[in-house]
Amino acid sequence: MSQKTMKSLRIVWRITLLNIRASMEYRTEFLLMIAIGAIWQVSVIVFATVLLARFTGMGGWDSSDVLLIPAIRMLAHGLFVLLLGRMHFIGRQIQEGKIDVYLLRPMPVHRQVQLAFFPTNAIGDLLVAAGLMVGALSRSDLDWTTGRVSYLVAAIIGGMLLEAALFTVVASACLRFPAADYWSRWLEELLGTFGSYPLNVLPRAVGGFLTYALPLAFVAYLPTAVLTGHDQDIGVPYWLAAASPLLGIAGYLAARLVWRWSLKHYTGVNG
């Protein structure tokens, strides 16, 4: 690792520690933020459990297989919130003119956006997500070979990157049209509502929309289909479903290019 990279990592680490100390200044708020992360994730579990209890055999899948979908999605989401989630709050930073300040500092704007504050709620997110993953794995009848475990890890990272890619594209749009911030809330709602179930319960056209127009299916549903051997009726060729983690990487790299292009065309409130 080059000296420059090491220096950058050191700065990132020191700013993160400062952000953690700053957020702990208000202890109650700090604890409540952890709680909100946990509660938000629990809502997904509650909804999933309620549906699984009332509608058994959802989409022709066993309950234990279905449970893996929210487990992967929530763990990917928790990691996204922890590492790249500040993209979600770009609208406020633009409104307050912070991007203009970032542009003057000797650090990439994207990194400064990510280091704006410490996402305390990610702790709660990850705690609940890890708990659900343990529960889903313990209920699973699958043979967890090294290959399958490696694919699970790749799927979680790919899911995180894909979610980051989607929010980065919306954030890029916000740089030009601040009102686009509205879409990020909708995106989060969509991911929470439709990202945790087998999409084959939906009509083919709707499933297609959530696969090709808004690639939500690649976050957790398709990787889970690959892990659990559901290669029929998933709406995409099996090889494409298997390539979900790679699509996450490709999607994120493409989104960063869009971000870079949008930043070049950014004009602050003062023109």
């Binding site: 708020e29 509205y182 939906l202």
Partner: protein, 268 residues
């Protein structure tokens, strides 16, 4: 006459912000359309191999879910873009201006909410007519059901207004309260049946929500509409909604007085 003019001007604050940003309105239209299609598809898909469950049949569940999406438009206007949220005013210290105007803050708040809800009602009604014509939602079983539903929805929106007011009033008493706000908004959505009809939840959950005001905002009117609450039981539910209106009105009135004493700006 001047009071009416003041009222009209306050009521149209947030809707005007929306009407002056056509991209946001386009986004609302698109979001609402997609959300309705997705929600209707999800519930139809879930019911594909199931009959009646939790006392709700397929059409009832789809109607409930779609109406919940439409009802969410009633109070979903974006105040943050215009920096007119109480949270933002407390953050920037501009809350003090609410107390310097010739219009009392509580009246400004109420008029602004009324304007937002009327504007949202136009969206919700438009969506309802389209969904009804497209056969996505079922019409109410009878004129009596429709009438009781309208009364219940009105009371529900009234309760919702007070619930949102309590959330905003919290901002006066805490320095940092983003998370508390998020938790309460989440509780409101979960316990009012926005995420899923409360009837699908375990009995203990339904009992618990019965002691809280949230289910009065949405679950009760929608359950009356789809026939999950019979007309014979609706009287009790309407009385409970009305009781929540009275309790919350008294409580928020008391909090407004306490809140006014805490307003400081620029160092006091």
């Amino acid at each position: 006459m001047a009071a009416v003019l003041h009222g009209w001007r306050a009521a149209r604050v947030t809707p005007l912000g929306e009407l002056h940003t056509p991209p946001r309105m386009t986004a609302v239209l698109l979001r609402l359309t997609v959300q309705v299609v997705l929600v209707a598809s999800l519930w139809r898909g879930l019911y594909a191999n199931t009959g009646t469950t939790a006392g709700l049949g397929r059409d009832q569940a789809v109607t409930y879910a779609v109406l919940a999406v439409l009802a969410s438009r009633l109070r979903e206007l974006d105040q943050s873009a215009g920096r007119d949220m109480v949270l933002q005013h407390m953050h920037f210290g501009t809350i003090v201006y609410w107390y310097l105007r010739p219009l009392p803050p509580q009246r400004y708040y109420a008029l602004r909410a009324l304007g937002e809800q009327l504007y949202g009602l136009v969206w919700a009604l438009g969506g309802y007519v389209v969904c009804l014509a497209a056969g996505v939602v079922e019409p109410p079983e009878s004129a009596a059901v429709a009438g009781v539903f309208v009364v219940s929805m009105l009371l529900g929106q009234w309760v919702l207004y007070y619930v949102m007011l309590v959330l905003d009033q919290l901002c006066f008493f805490t320095i940092r309260n983003n998370s508390a706000m998020l938790i309460l908004i989440f509780a409101q959505n979960l316990l009012s049946g926005v995420y899923a009809p409360l009837w699908f939840f375990p009995d203990w959950f339904i009992t618990l929500s019965g002691f809280l005001p949230f289910q009065a905002t949405l679950s009760v009117p929608l359950s009356i509409y789809v026939g999950r609450i019979e007309l014979s039981d609706a009287g009790v539910q309407l009385a409970v909604q009305a009781a929540w209106v009275v309790v919350l009105a008294l409580f928020t009135r008391w909090v407004w007085r306490r809140a006014a004493r805490r307003v400081i700006s620029q160092g006091g």
